[in-house]
Each structure stands twice: as C-alpha cells, then as structure tokens.
Amino acid sequence: MDFIKYLITGISLGSVYAIIALGYTMVYGIAKMLNFAHGDVIMVGGYMTFIFMNSLGMPAILAVLGAMVVCTVLGIVIERVAYKPLREASSLAVLITAIGVSYLLQNLALIIWGSTPKSFPSVVSIDPIVLPGGITISGETIVTVVVSALIMIGLTLFINKSKLGHAMQAVAEDKGAAQLMGINVNATISITFAIGSALAAVAGALLCSSYPLLQPTTGAMPGIRAFVAAVFGGIGSIPGAMLGGVLLGIIESLTKAYISTELSDAVVFAMLIVVLLVKPTGLLGKKISEKV
C-alpha cells in the first residue's frame, strides 16, 4: 500500500516537473536556446503568489492568476532585454547569458525578500481524500494533478488545433519559411516565453503548496530537474516534456522511499545518462536532420 502512496506523490511531483519542463522544451523548440533562468521564474511566481495572498489578502485563485500575469511580463521582458539582442550570436553566448539572468533573478530576490525562508501558505483549501486501504491523498496532490492534467490537455489542443499553434510549430521547424508565410517570428518567440513563464508561475504556486519553504533558491533545483525531464523526454517535444516530467517525479519519489533520499538526484541523473546512451534524442525526441 505504501507503494501506491509513493507512486501518487511521485505523479504529483512529476506533474509539476512536467509543467516546468514544458516551458523549457517550448522555448528550446521555438528559440533554439536553453533558458536556464526558467527555474527562477518559478521562484518569482512563488513569491508573487505569497505576496498577493499574505500581504494583499487576495483569494488563492486570484493570487495565482496575479502571479501568472507578473511572470508573463517578466518572461517577455527577459527575452526582449537579454536574449533578443543575441538572436544572431553563438549559442554559447546565449547560454551564458541565461545563466547570468538566473543569478540576477536569485540575487534580486535575495535583496528584495531576504534569505530567510518564508513559510508558504497552501493555495489549496480542499480536504484530503482517504482511499480504501487507508491511503490519504492530500488536497495539494489532487489539485496539482488535476491542474497539471488540464494544462497539458489545453496546451496540446492549442498547439495541435489552433492556427497560432500551427504557426508556432512552423517557426520551430523553419524560421525563414515561416517568415515567408507572414508569421512574425519575434512575436512568436515572445508568446512562447509568455506561455512558459505563466506556466512557471502555476508550477511555483503548486510546488510551494506541497513543499512550503520559499526562498530565493527555491526554483533552482526543480528547474534543473525539469530541464533533465525535458531532455529525458526529448527536448523540443511537448508530449516528451510531459512524459519526462511525470516519469522523473515517480523515479525521484520511489528512490527516496526505497533507496535513499540523498541518492535521489544521483539516480535521476543516472537514468538520464542511460536514456541518452540508448536513445540520444530522448524518449520521444525526433532526429533533427541538418540542412545541407
């Protein structure tokens, strides 16, 4: 019975990783860059939710929506100021800039909110469910899984069914040809950052509700794990990010339960190495053919 409990915890944690990984993978797909500041947007989302709820006394849902708005703007501004000027630069320059933005956000948070961890009030107010067999599922777990599932379904429909979604796929595949169709590539990149950052805000609120310690480095480790999840599933692939995220959460949870808490990251990274050795493009990644 314990196994089921750990599995559910893993799915819940993994769905948060999946939402974060979606941000990584969409930005990689469209802008061909690794946005290592993505994890820190989660942290900003957490702080904003905290401020809207605690200091301004807003209801949880409004607080999360407010955090999504702030993070959307933040994501667009980061892209405009830090990444857009480097559109023609080498990918190494962009990568280093992204790491710089990550430290900038963490240190700004340190200046504004201090280093003392804040105790995050859960955004979830529904009661736990007790399953037959005595397994208790917390309200946080239920909401996390449901919200993540809705986000994944919504995003999949958006990408595959809407005209804008098709345009995003076109830009991801061939920017030049997309421009010939009249698609504004810069606007598409902005939209991608906006969506990724709004999702990061949701992830921040959900993550802090289950693990209620909020500090400037809160987003760093989940961000890196979600990056691993995105690579695991095949970077650039949306279903891959979802699968990779959930699998990673389950592996982490089961490792913590049955092997060792300290080793969980080691096991996660070892799994990544094995997957990449067997299938270098990740579980659902496609082989990118180089243009001649």
Binding site: K163, H166, A167, Q169, A170, E173, D174, G176, A177, A178, Q179, L180, M181, G182, I183, N184, V185, K291
Partner: protein, 238 residues
Amino acid sequence: MAKMLEVRDLHVSYGAIKAIKGISFDVEEGEIVTLIGANGAGKTTTLHAISALQKSDAGSITFCGKDITHMEAHKIIKLGLAQVPEGRRVFAGLTVQQNLEMGAYTRVDSAAEIQKDYDKVFEWLPRLKERRRQQAGTLSGGEQQMLAIGRALMSKPRMLLLDEPSMGLSPLLVKEIFRIIREVNKSGVTVLLVEQNAKMALDIANRAYVLETGLVKMEGNADDLANNIEVRKAYLGC
C-alpha cells in the same frame, strides 16, 4: 504593361563575401521572367533579398510601386508577393492541409474566399487533396514541391517567386511542375523563376536574365537567349 517588380543596383553580401554586385532587372505584370545561371551566380540570394530573408546592402527593390527594400520579411507576403523557397521547405511536422493553412496565415478575408483558393489549389494539384491529412514530411519530393507551390498560392499572391522548383525531380515531374507554373501564370499571377534547368526555364519564360558571379551578364527575350550561341554553350550544353 505596368512594372510589377523593379530591382535597381542591388548589392548583397554575406560578411566579406559580395554575392550580388549591383544587379538591376524588372518584371512586368503578367510575365514569366527567369533568372538563369550557374551555382553561386547569386540567383537564390536575389530572391532572398526580395523576400527580405537576406538584408540588402545597397540599391532598391520596388514592388507595385512600393519600396520594400527594408521591409520586415513577414510583412512582404501581405503585399501579394509570395515565395516558393529552394529545397521546398515545407513544414514536415504539419499536415498538407495545415501547410496550406500557413500559406493563408495573413489573410483576413472570409473563410468562403479562402475556401475558393483551397478548391483552386486542389484543382491544380489534385495529389495534395488525396494527401491532405498526411504529414508533409512523408510526401515524396515532387509532392513536397507541389505543396510548396500550393502553400504560396494560398496567400492569393499577385506575384510568385519560384526558386529551383525542378531541383531533384524526375524529368516527368519537372514537366508537370512547369505545366503548373504556366497554368498559374495564365490565371493572372506574375512569375519570377530562378532555375538551373535553363532549357525548361527559357521554354516557358517571356524574358530572361543571365546571372554570372553576382552580375547580370545578358538579358533579353527568352527565345532570343535560347538561340544565343554563348547561352547555348554555357547553359544548354549544345
């Protein structure tokens, strides 16, 4: 006849390499004009400069009386100038139907008007209709070329730029593609065709320009050029 496209003293370079060293040419409404020349003559670069995928260093490009030299690439198709790029560049992950939908991306007229153009494209290119739910990446080379043409036509262009549409296709398919180009032109679309297959290009074109290392070396009536001894030696192999 009115001038549709006017290119004046165009210069384009890739870093230190000058690819186009001051070329001028015109396309008049209703014409098929072809740019022929060997690899590296600057044919594709010229088309990229017109569509603003490549920045021009100097000179001017005017389309329907409007200076488009420094226009952003994604705004050009709205003026009625569509390009079928070299190597087809269809969106492999999207279906045939979705590729066509991308061609009509900027259109704001009614769904019924757009549907008319779907019907027209499917009439010209019936193979696309059979395969419209298939991913573009699974099509054969010839079908992808047809899709690239159909996709450009979905923007309801006044002028079509075609970059090496015969590349990598069997002689039978090349014939088919050229037949389609002629039909499209007859329906009122002006055509600027870039080709290495000079024989086929001169066959359907009204006028032609011969490019050599970034300069216009010869220009004139397509039939005259096809009979020109220099052109025959260099590009027609006879």
